[in-house]
């Protein structure tokens, strides 16, 4: 039994326990402890000296089709597994207390929820541990179906979205299978190493086919353009903490597989050699531009949402673009930024979802037009969301700033100003929409019906606060995460970023310790002035008047719908839902063909077809 065996075993046990005890009062806590155990097993695997970590094999292996299937962990898997288990731990914790009871009382199947969550973690670990292309595909499919399970839990509308997800995901998986089997046909093995050795001898056409098939397969899970339509709604309809978990890590599995196969095995340098005929672009540029558009378009779609969960979920799609962009650029800064963004994003996205779920838990709605002023009622949730959106918008002093800085910097170093501008436009949209989020929920006027709302229970607040701490600490000391990303960079064969605890040690580098310290000093000074200046006075929100009338609680003077009217007027014409139309067109094409085929079976005289076949054979004979 190796460390990896222990990890997988504990994870499998977690699934079983979750399914057995999920409905009990202690069930959630038990499962949470098991996640913590998984985390311990993961840490045991490498100690904290991860940078020297070598490959950990699992003793589990099979021989199928004269191919050996094996599982193993390297630094890349370890890094993603850390995030996965962390997300599982916090989400399970979050779900264990009052939330779970309420879910069960509302007719939800809590046992199935915990089981599905644990199954998601387990399948992701299996995927991360894959040691060859066959196990990669098996893990991939397991993850897809586990996500499908948790997405469909809510029933009703969630069924429709989960259905859409699985249609996309399965089509993607088939593209992936096609790609992997094509590799097998070319290389004669599912082994990673054989593929790596065979890549230089492959023809350009084969390579293009491979890259397109694999990117499409992985891209569906990442929800990059043009496969982005399924994700936001499916995630938003997943029950509370499940959405937080999926939003934090699930679609990152696509990125993991992309890194393993396209970056590590095929290699970015090979992509650069693949030029697109009649243009000055190559495959790498193509991917980078896909990434940039994946940043921009979903972010501005998010701006339009008025459901908090959907707004966040659409951001999830957009942020994937940053990660992909950084990794495709593939220099030391970019890949470190992309990888670090995976970690950072997971931490604040989980927290943001939790904050929104906490609000739903107390108020029963996530409609941004029906909320407001909850700051006074739920200050801790407010704090969590504030820290989260600072991170999401990529502003100092939170960790999101560091990873985005690295990605921007890499674009400048790489000499791609257009990509840089695209990424910045995306960030602009992010800032605008996260402001909409926090404003419409927490700021402004408190609604009458929410006057009695209390802060979320401790079981929900503590995970949020812990995540907030993570976001802040890794923003203060980015070196903590950069250590891990360097190990990953070494393991996948990319240039390693020189760094220290406070940031990057290259010329024009970044030292977050300085920046944050200065910021803190500045804030401290400001606070000091604010409180010691003594010129402020607390007034009740309604101690006010407008147009000569005193305000009552029933009067709405804080309008949250029709946000950003000017901006919307300006960019409104761009929301054409072209991709929706594309999707719909595809469906009606299939529908038409399908009708034709049914008509064929229903109406056609069989002998006609037979004779078509005969004539076909005849032409053969003559030719």
């Amino acid at each position: 039994m190796t460390a990896l065996d222990y990890l997988l075993l504990i994870s499998a046990i977690t699934v079983v326990i979750a399914l057995l005890a999920g409905n009990m009062r202690v069930g959630g806590w038990l499962v949470t402890i098991l996640y913590a155990l998984q985390g311990a097993a993961l840490l045991m695997m490498s100690g904290l000296g991860y940078s020297t970590m070598t490959v950990v094999q699992s003793s589990l292996r099979f021989n199928v089709l004269s191919e050996q299937m094996l599982w193993r962990f390297d630094a890349l898997s370890w890094f993603f597994a850390l995030i996965t288990i962390g997300a599982g731990l916090f989400c399970s914790w979050f779900a264990s207390g009052e939330w779970g009871e309420k879910y069960r009382d509302n007719g939800g199947n809590l046992r199935l929820f915990h089981g599905a969550l644990a199954l998601n973690v387990f399948t992701m670990l299996v995927l991360l541990a894959s040691g060859d292309l066959l196990t990669l595909f098996i893990g991939w499919e397991l993850v897809s179906w586990a996500s499908f399970l948790i997405m469909a839990l809510a029933g009703g509308k969630a069924f429709d979205y989960a259905m859409r997800y699985i249609s996309y995901a399965f089509a993607g998986a088939m593209a992936l299978l096609g790609g992997l089997l094509l590799i097998y046909a070319e290389v004669g093995s599912f082994d990673f190493q054989s593929l790596k050795e065979a890549v230089p001898t492959m023809s350009s056409a084969t390579l293009w086919t491979l890259v397109v098939l694999l990117t499409a397969g992985f891209g569906v899970k990442m929800a990059i353009l043009p496969f982005h339509l399924w994700q936001a709604k499916a995630y938003a309809e997943t029950p509370g903490p499940g959405a937080a978990f999926l939003g934090a890590i699930s679609s990152r599995m696509g990125l993991f597989a992309f890194i393993v196969v396209v970056v590590q095995l095929i290699g970015i340098s090979r992509l650069v050699e693949m030029e697109i005929p009649y243009t000055f672009l190559d495959a790498q540029d193509l991917l980078a531009w896909i990434a940039v558009f994946t940043i921009i378009i979903p972010t501005y779609i998010a701006l339009r949402q008025h459901d908090a969960r959907r707004l966040l979920a659409w951001h999830g799609v957009g942020q994937t673009g940053y990660m992909l962009l950084g990794i495709v650029i593939a220099n030391d800064l970019g890949s470190a930024g992309g990888l670090m963004h995976v970690f950072n994003y997971a931490s604040y996205q989980a927290m943001l979802f939790m904050a929104v779920v906490a609000v739903i838990h107390r108020t029963g709605t996530s409609d941004l037009n029906k909320l407001g002023g909850l700051f006074t009622r739920m200050p801790l949730s407010y704090l969590a969301m504030l820290i989260g959106i600072i991170g999401l918008a990529g502003l100092p002093p939170m960790n999101g700033f560091v990873s985005k800085w690295l990605i921007y910097r890499s674009l400048i170093v790489d000499g791609s100003p257009l990509l840089f501008i695209g990424a910045v436009i995306g960030t602009l949209g992010t800032i605008l929409s996260v402001y909409k989020l926090i404003h419409n929920i927490f700021l402004g006027q408190l609604r009458v019906e929410h006057a009695a709302v209390r802060e979320a229970p401790l079981s929900m607040v503590i995970p949020m606060m812990l995540l907030a701490a993570v976001v802040f600490v890794t923003g203060y000391f980015p070196g903590l995460v950069l250590d891990w990303t360097s190990a990953v960079q070494t393991s996948i064969g990319l240039p390693v970023l020189a760094h220290h605890l406070g940031g990057v040690s290259i010329s024009g580098g970044l030292d977050m310790i300085w920046i944050v310290s200065v910021l803190l000093v500045g804030f401290g000074f400001g606070t000091l002035v604010f409180f010691l200046g003594g010129r402020s006075k607390r007034v009740h929100q309604l101690d006010n008047y407008a147009g000569g009338h005193f305000l009552t609680a029933e009067t709405r003077y804080h309008y949250s719908d029709n946000f950003y009217p000017g901006l919307m007027h300006l960019i409104g014409p761009w929301y054409r839902n072209s991709f929706e139309w594309l999707e719909r067109g595809l469906i009606s094409a299939v529908d038409t063909l399908s009708t034709a085929m049914q008509g064929l079976y229903r109406n056609a005289h069989p002998s006609y077809l037979l004779l078509v076949a005969v004539v076909f054979a005849l032409s053969w004979v003559i030719v």
Binding site: L611, V612, V614, V615, A617, L618, I622
Partner: protein, 229 residues
Amino acid sequence: MRRFTAALFLLGLGVMIAAIYQHIDFSNTAVNAGQAINAVAAEETGAANFVTSVVLAYRGIDTLLELTILFTAAMIGGMVLGRRRVDAPRDPDAGFILRTGADLLFPLLLVVGLYIILHGHLTPGGGFQGGVILAAAFFLPLLARPGITLIDQRVVSLVEGLAGATFIIIGLLAMFDGKEFLTPLLDKGELGALISAGTLPILYLAVGIKVGSELAGLLAHLAEAEALD
């Protein structure tokens, strides 16, 4: 349009058949399994009619299956058409000449049918041809007098079942003897004599009775069909 496409297809089919016909090689015809059978059949089976040898001995299992097809078809025919209702109206009897003719023909056809069956291993004819005549013998009176129940479906099914079973049991007897299923048994006798060729005449008798009863049953079913519903 439909006719036009059909004509086009047929033209294509015709051309294809012509093309295939061009490639048929007629020189092979002397070398085949049949000639091999001709060389040894008289000795191996003792039947003067080699077609009978092939039908009952060399390819006996085919014949068994063929009987089974008839059996199944008769059974399904009965199932599909259903049983005659007791109170259903009947056709009036046919005229005097037909009735008398049918009465006279009945024994004649019976004798001819049995003759053809029993000489199947010597002369052209056999169980199938004779069976058809037997069926006609039993069906003719029905045409003449639709009221009579000469053909009782239950008797028919009993007879056909037993005749088929006889065929199989003769085959199984060979297995008790340590030989393969349907190996011809008994003494082969003198070539050309009525009692010769071992079990083949018995098999042909079973075939004839089975074919006769099944076809008679089918005919009766079809004739009675309108009485349903």
